[in-house]
Amino acid sequence: MSASELSILIIDEDRVRAAIIEEGLREAGHTRVAVINSTQEVARRIAEIAPDVVVIDLANPDRDRLEHFFLLSKALRKPVAMFVDKSDAAAIGAAIEAGVSAYIVDGLRKDRVKPILDMAVLRFNAYSRLQRELDEARNALEERKLIDRAKAILIRQRGLTEEAAYTLLRKTAMNQNRRVAEIAQSLITAAGLLEP
């Protein structure tokens, strides 16, 4: 371990995202990387980790408490927010939009830290995209299930073919300017009410 190697601390309650950031830092050649998933743990471990750089999630409501720990900690005597270099407005905006923030010890050269924040921003964004896609896929699956159930009701009660049942759902949706899944949901609810 070289003396000049940076000690990096990642604080993130989202364990998966923290692991993704950690992996990115290790791939970039950093070996002194610590991850903490709960704010409570920070007070206990910050002295032992003695971070030069702290990467945190901006949505963490505990950020005020974390800053207070940094202020109290002798390990990070003068933490400076990464955004201190206001000349790079685009990078700052990108970090805030991605939802990531960083603190560095005073005096650390910014060019040593910038790649760390850039990588964190990229991985935060990739992670959000992944989650969004996952949510969309989950919703699509839910909707398909609803439509299948609505079709089954029409086939059973109106004696339609599967194709005709779907055509009827889609036509109704178009006429009412609603989504097919919404019509399917209404039909399922109505059928439930009418059941003996």
Binding site: L58, P61, R63, R65, H68, L71, V80, A81, G93, I96
Partner: protein, 380 residues
């Protein structure tokens, strides 16, 4: 009339009220301002997003601009406070377990700070476990008024009891879990603790220090200097909001608006407690607290230089900053009654004749007053 877009950051607290009402009642629009409000999750986010220009203005804790200008924050930004967002609004809540002990130690069950503090001092003196109190931020009215109450009651903060930082929405749970024994926070978080059955309100800021300041409108200094007309228009909109909120006939509607999903996302009857001053101290035990939260009366939105200096004096008292004449001048310059006067004058409202309060105008529950010409470094 200016046609201006302003984005303001706020935290879900009762005293985000003036910003919310200025937007929702069309008062900002009437001044030519397209006001966008963004709910944030921490004061650190508010500060950073003002610093990088995402927010032109924001609701801020009264000491925040002073701390930023004195270089006590992790980010280097100059912030001015051209307006206060009301007076009072805070309370101190303790756990049921601590309240039982205070009751045995002679607490009368009123909200008067002196007897409650005396009872707490007897509990602390009896030993039996070190007590822990939570506040929302080190540079907050909550921290400094809790410390004032403890110290005036004969309890030494840090030496006799611990004070930790906790986001307000976690306080009731922490109280119920026994992680903390009490907290000082803004509404609705005291009433939320009572509603959850986690604790009891033992005293209120309005009794510790009548007509005391809390949140301010924080503005990045460079933006304020570059956009004087936009800022003045916003101050007028907020002043109009304070007039509307100051009328008790509007409290129910104000609570309903503030409780909406984009703002506090809370039932309006919970918000009405702080707004009307009819506080439930414990379940089923309601008292009427005069001037609990004051949006307009008593020059509630005036950014008194003396208030800035009181916060500065507390920073000196608790070792946050070393007292020097330069620091004191910097703290005084953080509040900008000149900007307020210039903007509000067209309303024809009666404005204070001086930017500073006389010592006799600031009375604390222990009989002390505050004289900014006599700030001294505490002896170690």
């Amino acid at each position: 009339m200016p046609d201006l877009r302003i984005t303001a950051g706020f935290l879900p607290l009762l005293d985000s009220l003036l910003l919310v009402i200025a937007r929702e009642r069309g008062l900002a629009a009437a001044q030519g301002i397209d006001l966008t409000l963004v709910r944030e999750t921490s004061w650190a986010n508010i500060r950073d997003r003002v610093a990088v220009g995402h927010f032109e203005v924001a609701q801020m804790l009264g000491p925040m601009p002073i701390a930023a200008n004195l270089g006590l924050s992790p980010i280097d930004v100059a912030i001015v406070a051209p307006m206060a967002l009301g007076l009072g609004g805070n309370a101190i809540t303790v756990s049921n377990r601590l309240w039982e002990r205070m009751l045995k130690a002679g607490a009368p069950g009123s909200i008067e700070p002196a007897p409650a503090g005396a009872a707490l001092a007897r509990v602390v003196a009896a030993g039996d476990g070190r007590l822990c109190f939570a506040v929302t931020h080190p540079f907050s009215g909550h921290n400094y008024e809790l410390r004032y109450w403890l110290a005036a009651s004969g309890i030494r903060p840090d030496a006799d009891v611990d004070i930790v930082i906790l986001p307000p929405q976690l306080m009731a749970d922490a109280l119920a879990a026994g992680t903390v024994d009490g907290y000082c926070a803004g509404e609705p978080w005291n009433s939320a603790g009572v509603l959850a059955g986690a604790g009891r309100i033992v005293t209120v800021k309005a009794r510790l220090w009548p007509d005391s300041p809390d949140k301010v409108l924080g503005v990045e200094q460079r933006w304020a200097e570059a956009h004087p007309e936009a800022l003045a228009a916003l101050l007028r909109a907020l002043y109009a909001a304070s007039l509307w909120c100051g009328d008790p006939a509007n409290h129910a509607e104000a609570a309903a608006i503030l409780g909406g999903p984009a703002y506090l996302d809370k039932p309006s009857d919970l918000l009405l407690r702080g707004l009307s001053g009819r506080l439930e101290l414990a379940r089923g035990e309601t008292v009427r607290v005069a001037d609990f939260f004051v949006p307009n009366a008593h020059s509630a939105t005036f950014p008194w230089v003396t208030h800035a200096l009181w916060y500065y004096a507390q920073m000196v008292r608790w070792g946050d900053v070393v007292h020097t004449p330069a620091h004191q001048a910097q703290a005084a310059r953080s509040y900008r009654p000149d900007l307020y006067r210039a903007a509000i004058a067209p309303f024809g409202a009666s404005l204070p004749t001086s930017d500073e309060k006389q010592p006799g105008q600031m009375r604390f529950f222990d009989g002390a007053s505050f004289d900014p010409t006599r700030i001294t470094t505490p002896s170690a």
